[in-house]
């Protein structure tokens, strides 16, 4: 056999970074290649992404969005049209300089994001208020030239969707920005069982070229935060730079108001770091490519495999069920599917068949249940719901336990160094304080949450009067 019988992973509390890379490789999510900083997404990892994609795409279509596809390459001059945007992205783009044997007259950048391509297209196709809103989305790969990379979390190339919309008014654009943030929140919480904090990015942390950026932030097992999806109100910056104008109902020429929003394969990294444990991945049932894996016991004995396949057929009508009837030992299979985080394992052998029962094992709690055959269908469905709910609740509890208020910079620093997690602290709004906090503690402002609390009355850094509470954390 190619694989060892037991696949050990480093314990989480021993070396969390090592645990993470052990899990992504040993659960067959990814493989490395000779392409620096890029990853191969293997079938199991890609099936996860397909599920997430499906959940998002359905919601995008329900909210009236259409999918399009823009070119991979952006001419340098086009990228330079919006000043803030090029400033933000220039240091991290890959440049194509040759096509075949020929040197190009103008360099092409491999898209790091597609605002400028959408802007150019919108200028061509938008003329009247009747053409608005335009609600487009694109599923694609993008490239950002990162120095240090980690599978899913930060890679040279990643897969994502980028929504780009145009509206007649600022209010409509703002509504859209919130609507799509809520879609992201729903997919995180309901599908991936990842609780998120919704809020606004500071000026420093907002998207290059945006008027404002909304974000959802989640907390990993090790107490570091992860930006899990962002939705930008672009205002009229790109519209002015590119001349995207429409004639309004009164016949007046106006610039459109835009949004853009993105969600990436990085969320798979979040899912791993929120739910995983020392035995490997733990995948929430709503995201799991396989929700229940049937492992026949003593499968060489008469009737066992037939019965196991019968169960698979019956259960497949209700849940994503699969069977492993290979000649590997049951113990090997148990390890394998625990590593892969499959929510439920069903064991069935001659004795179970005799007793008209099966054994179900929960991945999240390890609990073993003996279930009568005639109660199986409803039990499986109930258990999957319960596992989904349990994982979400555990993540909420973990976040609460790891969320701490701080009133002084010393407090903030101490929390970062000892307990980590989210730190709630007041901020005066000055960039200087934000910079100093990062410098002193390593924590960055994650967001100004929509749900505000008055932790104190003074800025955690300078002590001046402060009215907004910010979530701070070290982040991926």
């Amino acid at each position: 056999m190619a694989k060892e019988f037991v696949k050990d992973v480093t314990a989480m509390d021993e070396d969390f970074a090592k645990w993470y890379t052990d899990v992504v490789t040993k659960a067959d999510l990814i493989d490395y290649s000779s392409v620096r900083g890029s990853m191969i997404i293997r079938p199991y990892g890609y099936a996860l992404w397909e599920n997430i994609k499906q959940e998002l795409d359905t919601r995008f279509k329900e909210t009236g969005h259409e999918n399009v596809y823009m070119p991979l390459f952006i001419p340098e001059s086009l990228l330079q049209k919006e000043k803030d945007h090029i400033e933000g992205f220039a240091p991290e783009v890959a440049w194509v300089t040759h096509g075949g044997e020929e040197k190009l007259a103008e360099r092409l950048c491999v898209r790091p994001t597609s605002e400028v391509l959408f802007a150019e297209h919108y200028r061509n196709i938008i003329h009247s208020y009747r053409d608005l809103p335009k609600l487009y989305n694109q599923w694609s790969n993008v490239v950002r030239w990162e120095k240090t990379t980690r599978p899913f979390l930060r890679t040279l190339e990643f897969l994502w969707q980028e929504g780009h919309t145009c509206h007649a008014t600022d209010e409509e654009a703002l509504e859209e920005t919130v609507r799509m943030l809520n879609v992201y929140e729903e997919v995180c919480e309901k599908v991936l069982a990842i609780p998120v904090v919704k809020g606004q990015k500071t000026e420093k942390e907002k998207f290059a070229g945006a008027k404002l950026t909304y974000t959802i932030e989640s907390l990993m097992h090790d107490g570091k935060a992860l930006q899990s999806g962002t939705s930008h109100h672009l205002g009229q910056g790109f519209a002015e730079a590119f001349g995207i104008q429409f004639t309004d109902k009164e016949g007046k020429l106006q610039h459109v108001h835009q949004t853009s929003w993105g969600f990436t394969t990085r969320i798979i990294g979040a899912m791993i770091m929120v739910h995983g444990d020392d035995r490997g991945l733990v995948i929430p049932p709503n995201a799991a490519p396989t929700q229940l894996m049937i492992v026949p016991i003593a499968q060489h004995k008469e009737g066992v495999l037939d019965y196991a396949y019968e169960l698979k057929n019956t259960l497949s009508k209700l849940v994503r069920a699969d069977i492993d009837a290979s000649d590997k030992k049951p113990g090997w299979k148990f390890n394998e599917y625990e590593m892969k985080g499959i929510p439920l394992r069903l064991e069935v052998g001659p004795k179970d068949i005799e007793k008209n029962q099966v054994v179900l094992v929960r991945r999240d709690t390890g609990e073993k249940l003996i279930v009568a055959a005639d109660a199986l269908e409803s039990t499986v469905q109930d258990l999957l719901r319960d596992i989904q709910q349990n994982l979400y609740q555990k993540a909420i509890d973990h976040r609460e336990q790891k969320t701490t208020p701080a009133v002084t910079l010393e407090e903030l620093k101490e929390i970062v160094e000892t307990k980590a997690g989210f730190i709630k602290a007041m901020w005066c709004g000055d960039r200087a304080c934000e910079d100093l906090i990062k410098e002193e503690t390593g924590a960055t402002s994650r967001c100004i949450p929509f749900e505000q609390e008055e932790v104190s009355e003074q800025c955690v850094c300078c002590g001046k009067k402060a009215e907004q509470m910010v979530y701070w954390a070290k982040a991926y």
Copy 2:
């Protein structure tokens, strides 16, 4: 309104190339951008691709294939490992030489296809006969540095799927090559109503690095051929170059046998050129994003819109139905949906409601039918089936009418110049004859069809004894 009331297209017989570009832009399939040779796939074009993708993906999964995702970039040294492969692709790849501000130590090519990345990965993950077969597929964008480009048919970047598989024996790899060719044939014929000729490419035309290439070839309205999908038996070339080995059941180390196969957005170009007419696109119902469009007549009159929406809800349970309740004039809508090739139009106004009937108009024949309300559901389904069948039959008839045998080179040349289409002629198998035919006539060998006929006993070019019949044509 942004669009003119009537969108004229050039007549097909006047200027087919112009007709084509008129249709792809006026039917809102694509838009141009400042990225040379690339296209923007607009919502209608992308919805078409999503349907085709879905049809293929379902069949791939049914035949045991799994989706993966490989990096976009290929280091130059990796591309050079298989000699024939690099020779074939080097002249047409885009090179990334800079990341951010830094010059790269080694150039990266933007994938023109991913054989070498799959080969490297397979070397890592295949060890034993138990690991075989490996049946992977990838949905992605690829780049080939083309000089002259046309939307869908030949673009710098295109979307496709590329299947890559590994097998224990030559026979199994050959079976897979045929199996996937048959999947392509089925999607072309059953979904896109495009009849295809199945056959083998000559040595000259086969894929760079393959042992043999199978192809499906279709015939466009103007009598030119279009390669519509290819499936390659790669033999052991990549396995040897990359060292992809497995231990067989006897414990002996062997190289795997590989296949690869691809299907691209170019098929949308084929669909346009096989079924389109002077009023625009004609989309086969099985591929159509919208199969039936409801156009309310005198929609300001009481009850009309309510009834039209009721029809939409009822019909949407059976077919992909939509309604245009905008304030544009019905005549404008008729033009628009004819241009977009929507298979069926349903018109309903106050008089129809009074008479308990609706009007259905077929896009393929222009036929107008008055249908009693209670027969509507079954009539719509029957008509869509009939339109699908009719388009396929028309394409078959056209191809037969445009397929001509030739016995001498002069005959072959004359047919190319006057009638065009497929030319069936015998070939001795010599590359020199194949080259000369191209030089003299402009026609290339499309394939050595699986269904052979003895058109004559001599090679159409050199007159030597010839046993294989080849399809020749000018091609896109």
